[in-house]
Amino acid sequence: MSDNVLQVSDDNFEAEILSSESPALVDFWASWCGPCRAIAPVVEELAEKYAGKLKVAKLNVDESPKTPGQYGIRAIPTLILFKDGKVADQITGAVSKSHLEAAIDKQLG
C-alpha cells in the first residue's frame, strides 16, 4: 500500500476530508468488491501523481458504514472528490486513470 494514500474512517472523516484545506479524493471500497480491487492501483498512482495538491484517501464501507450512508452510496467503488467540505464530483465504477485525471484536473483548475 502506498504511503501517499490515507486510510480514513467514520471517526476522522470530518477532520481529514471535510475540513481538509486541499481538495480530497475518497475511494469508498470493500474487500469483497472486485472492481474496487481492479481500481486500487490506479488510486495509488493518482496519489503519487497529485501528492501535495490533492489528498487521496480510502474508506472501507464495511468498517465505516455511516459515512457512505450519509452520501447515499449504494455501489462501489465510488470515488468522491471533495472541495471545501462539499461534493464536487462523484464517479462510480472501475473507470480508467485518464477519466479520473480529467475529473481531478477540472477541480484543481
Binding site: C33, D62, G72
Partner: protein
Amino acid sequence: MPTHDLVIVGGGPAGLTAGLYAARARMDVVLLERLSPGGQVLTTDMVENWPGDVEGVSGFDLADRMRDHALKFGLEIKSAEINKLSADGDVKVLTTPDGDIRTKAVVLAVGAQPRKLGVPGEDLLIGKGVSYCGTCDGPFYREQTVVCFGGGDTAAEECVFLTRFAKKVYLVHRRDELRAAGILAERVMNNPKIEVLWSQVPLEIKGENKVEAVRLKKLKDGEEYDLPCDGAFVFVGTSPNTDFLQGVVDMDRQGFIICDRDQHTSMNGVFAAGDCCSKLLRQIVVAAGEGAVATYAAQRYLEEVHE
C-alpha cells in the same frame, strides 16, 4: 525505441493465458493492463465451471492464480491505457498517454463490460440504486427489495447471490423462459425469494436521489405499471471495450471483433481473444483457450513475416 515481438492488451483470462504461453515460448512480450489483472472474473463470486476445480474457485482466487502463473514464467505486466492502434509497415504502434509502444504482433484481449438497459433514469441513478454487479453491491441491500433484468447465466447467478442479502428479488425477463444454463435456471426457479416476471420489459427507472421503482411493460397485453424497489440490477449481456479500435479491425454490429479460427483479426499480425471477440459463448474457459491460440498464431505469424 525497441520493438517487441508481442504486446498483449488486457489482463483478464484471455490476456493472462496468452501471456503465459508467450512467456513460456520465450517471446519478447509485455502485457498491458489499465486496471489490475483479472478482468470480469473479479466480479464473479464463485466460478463453478473451471475444469479441475471441482469445489469451485472464487473469482478473486482464480484471477490471482492466473496472474501468478504467468508471472512465474517471466511475463512482464505493465500498467497502461491504450488509446489507439495503428500500423507502421509491418510494425504495430500502440498509443498510450505516456508515449507509443511498438510491436511486431498484438493480441487484443480487451474484454467487455456490462451492457446498459438504455432506459430513462438509468444513467442518473448509477451508484444510487442502479448496479451492474451483484457481488459488489449486494450487501447494500440487506432486507430490501431489488429488481434484476436479464435471463442469461450472469442474471441467474447474480439473482441467487442477491438473495443472501435482499428479502425479495424480482427477475424481469423479456421472454417466457430463461436462457441460463439448466442448473442455474433451476436454482432461480427453486429459490423462494426470487419471483420471475416473464415477458416483461423495463421502460424507466424511477427515483429522485435513489431508485424508488421501475416502470415495466407486459409484452402480452401492453399493460404498464410501477414496481416499487430499492435497487435495480442490470445483467443484460456485455458490451466490448473496443471503441478505440473502431475502423481499425473488423467488428460485428455490436462492436465485437471478428476473427478467424486462429484468432487473427482483419489486420495483419493483430489477433484477438476472449470476451471482446464476436462469438457464441463468453466464458472463462473459452477466453483462456483463445488466448493460447492467439499467442501460438502470433508466433507463427512472426516466423513467416518477420524472420
